[in-house]
Symmetry: none
Subunit: 124 residues, 4 copies
DNA sequence: GTGGTCTAGACCACA
DNA sequence: GTGGTCTAGACCACA
């Protein structure tokens, strides 16, 4: 369900947060949907439970998830439907800015980027 | 010459390393070219000299820069010309992987990304 | 575990780097072995933590050590076993070249060196 | 006459000092012998004259060389003959200590070192 | 508990 | 003028 990579530069809890946010924004995790338990996820990805727990807690504080005693965490009701396309794109702003800066400094063209993106998209 | 943002999540010295690497790979910093002195850069960006120094030291260890005592650091000879396009693109692999994963999870299309990239490219 | 001498011409962090490299090459520090924490080493040798940290960081960049956040640094997996004798000897090339040059200029004989080495070896 | 390597870790002026000291100790540079001029050496090794000059000045302070106005520097009279073997060996103490420590940490044997030395000796 | 980043500032080595 | 090393100390991020 989630792709967590402890080697990657970005902290594990942050990877998890981002992914939940995105799946919720896209509606793949609909309002009310249940998330895997802390323990489950921790085991599956061989990660410290505290790391998962931290991500869940922050997502709760953010209003993305809801916690009900004794039950699994669920996607909060307020995020009921798929967010509009432009709003979803905004989540990539930072990444895109960084990418374009890097590509320019490498003297690549927009077409280089576009080809690379198409390739990667069809690959997976 | 360099764009350093202390606010951005990534450490300053790492931003500098990345940018030097890219300018060298693209040939904008040619072999033998002198880099600004540690103090100069530190002043210009209101950053501690050690932060700049750390970046330079790591770039030397990596073989991108060369140190001659008492003189400014220079671009190492082995990186003489512009690296081939594919090699330059490789430096963006990680970023591109991450971007595509994020876009998929947001249920965006490749076209959404491409439009965004073209827009950002012409903006700056 | 390590012998650090602040008086010796060579910088402390460099002494540490060399020793770790050698203990790893010889297998005395096996793959996965944990290194003492930065603070521990710093205290033990009455040195600033940043000095130790610098060495660890460079050893990580070099691929000798691995960092897992929140945990002690470990010997990287790729250096799993004792390096072959010839490869270990290569680490002394520079020193040996220098020694032989010096001895020749002093008009000493190889036998002078050999006697001195045997003596020092049994001494310690 | 001298072997100066700007890439080597050790500073150039120090390399020069060591070599002069050794050639004097061995008698290859006898009392009264003239040294090449600063300018000459600097040109020959493509080195800053100040670097050579610094070495000469320190050797003078040390009493190894003598400076006479308008004439080339000469080997001081007090070092008239070849120093006794043990005294010459002492100049290698530091190097030998370091070598033996390194070899031990690499789990090499004295025989490994000795073979390597014999090989290097006959090579050049 | 682990290590990382950064600052301010001293002092050194080299050319 | 160049860069290198080290300290003392603050604050952060992660597990």
């Amino acid at each position: 369900m989630f792709i967590l990579n402890p080697q990657s530069g970005t902290p594990i809890y942050r990877q998890l947060i981002e992914q939940v946010r995105r799946l919720v924004a896209s509606g793949q995790l609909a309002a009310g949907a249940e998330l895997p338990s802390v323990r489950e996820l921790a085991l599956e990805h061989a990660v410290n439970p505290m790391t998962i727990s931290k991500a869940y807690t922050m997502l709760e504080a953010e209003g993305v998830l809801e916690r009900q005693r004794g039950k699994p965490m669920t996607v909060a009701a307020r995020d009921r439907a798929q967010a509009p396309r432009t709003h979803r794109l905004e989540q990539l702003e930072g990444q895109l800015d960084h990418l374009v800066l890097a590509a320019r400094q490498l003297e690549l063209t927009p077409e280089d980027l576009i080809k690379a993106i198409r390739r990667k998209w069809s690959d997976k």
